[in-house]
């Protein structure tokens, strides 16, 4: 009959050392060293910063695109309206160079100034009208956010 106590003897020092080694080894495989953690944090920080920077840049650019589109559409709307009124009008008063007063058209008397823009979602606007012999010269500078559109054009009166 085998004496179990003599064969296994788990309390012998050699078994204790082996068990400790296995436990320690197992413990190491489930964690990270300090170096690994620092490298991972560094890479993570770098990646986060880059993504944040690109995201912010993208948002800023999208905002600028929206501003530019607002300026474009406002300028087109303004020119359509002014062209219609000048072609319809008969007498023009540009004594106040920032305001064009149109008389004789439909409606009978109307005026156009920078309020046309500021009432249509534009931050700041400057309009200048110069009465030429048979036309009105128009200069406008409009700003939305950081974007500015400056343009000069002329609308002739209708041929009689």
């Amino acid at each position: 009959m085998t004496d179990l106590n003599t064969t296994l003897q788990p309390w012998k020092p050699i078994y204790i050392i082996m068990a400790s080694k296995i436990l320690l080894k197992k413990k190491n495989e489930h964690g990270f060293t300090l170096m690994e953690t620092v490298v991972a944090l560094g890479i993570g920080l770098l990646a986060t910063t880059m993504v944040f920077y690109i995201f912010t840049l993208g948002l800023k650019n999208i905002q600028e695109i929206k501003y530019t589109q607002a300026l474009n559409s406002s300028a087109i709307f303004f020119l359509d309206r002014v062209t219609y009124l000048i072609k319809q009008g008969e007498n023009f008063d540009t004594s106040d160079s920032n305001r064009l007063i149109i008389d004789g058209g439909t409606p009978n008397e109307t005026s156009i100034d920078n309020l046309f823009f500021t009432a249509n979602n534009i931050d700041t606007a400057t309009t200048t009208f110069t009465g030429m012999a048979k036309s009105i010269r128009i200069n406008f500078i409009i700003q939305k956010g950081s974007k500015i559109l400056s343009a000069t054009t002329t609308i002739a009166q209708r041929s009689i």
Partner: protein
Amino acid sequence: MFSPRFKKSINNKGFSIIEALVGITLAALLLVAFTSLITQTIKINQANMSKLKAMMYLQELIEVAKDLEQSATTTIFGPPNDCNTSNACHPEADNSVSPPEWNLVLDEQKLENDTFTRSITISATVDANVKMATATISWHDGFKYNTSTLETYLYYYGQ
């Protein structure tokens, strides 16, 4: 001491240089694609603004011609001069008179630091009382050179 399966799991713990390079390349590709997308969008937007300005400058030439049709019939329908015989001309405002008047001056005109170049030619038709005005503008929009042309007829209504 360790089983082959355990050894295999140890080998899979990290990234090889190939894996790291592939990962970095993919990230770089995404970055470049995103950046170029944004850049292109901005350029297209700028191109739209340039086109709008070009159309305003072009339309202005026609409108000036329509002004001259009524206010300076001699310039348009009178004896041949530089600007009613198919030469490229451009308008200039004469502010020394009241109200200011438009004049046509020989040669094309450059605007906004040479971004836009425009000109108008007035040429004869079979009818002496009718002239053809052709306005042309060319500009660079950040991608390529563009040219647009508008035409209209000018009629002599008498003095």
